[in-house]
């Protein structure tokens, strides 16, 4: 899985019929210091993520194992919203401190 930030939503009228009703979000990869990198992915949402939130995305066939994406042509899904994280014992992100 990779760490990402929700940076926008994707609206599409002409798409695979199976994708009708699915919430698609644009997410940007983050490094371990929560800094954005240059790569973006369109991911389906299974947890109700919103703009600006730091999330965890699963890719590949595993992305089709949520109720929202089962059997759909999807290869990236948001399956967790990050509350906090630490690397080598150092807190790198804490959602409750954001915007304070």
């Amino acid at each position: 899985m990779f760490l990402a930030k929700v940076v926008g939503s994707v609206v599409s009228t002409q798409k695979d019929p199976k994708l009708v009703g699915l919430k698609l979000l644009l997410v940007q990869h983050l490094n371990l210091d929560i800094e954005p990198t240059k790569s973006f992915v369109v991911a389906a949402d299974s947890v109700g993520a919103g703009n600006g939130e730091v999330v965890v995305c699963a890719t590949g066939s595993s992305a089709r194992l949520t109720e929202e994406t089962e059997g759909l042509p999807v290869d990236a899904v948001i399956m967790a919203i990050v509350d906090s994280m630490d690397i080598h014992g150092q807190i790198k992100y804490d959602k409750s401190q954001e915007g304070a």
Partner: protein
């Protein structure tokens, strides 16, 4: 399966229900000499047994989704064991 070192952890209250009771870890893949290779990633620790600094092995891709019988989860990297010791022809 691949070798990796646990370098951190991640907490999430809002997550897919199949992950309830499981921990997310940041892992850094290692080669056979235990040197870091590639980029760090997030893996599921299904039994909550790993701590930062431990060497583990994990499965990735679609195999990571069904490590428990009858329990499918949207995971593409799952820790399946903690390394006690390992040796190669060149030594431990």
């Amino acid at each position: 399966m691949n070798l990796a070192k646990v370098i951190g952890s991640l907490w999430a209250t809002q997550k897919h229900h199949s992950f309830i009771g499981m921990k997310f870890c940041f892992i850094q893949p290692l080669n056979e000499k235990r040197e870091e290779v590639g980029n760090p990633l997030i893996a599921i620790d299904p039994d909550n047994q790993c701590g930062t600094g431990e060497t583990v092995f994990y499965v990735d891709g679609g195999d990571a989704a069904t490590i428990k019988e009858g329990h499918e989860m949207p995971s593409d990297a799952t820790i399946v064991g903690i390394v006690d010791s390992m040796s190669t022809d060149e030594g431990s």
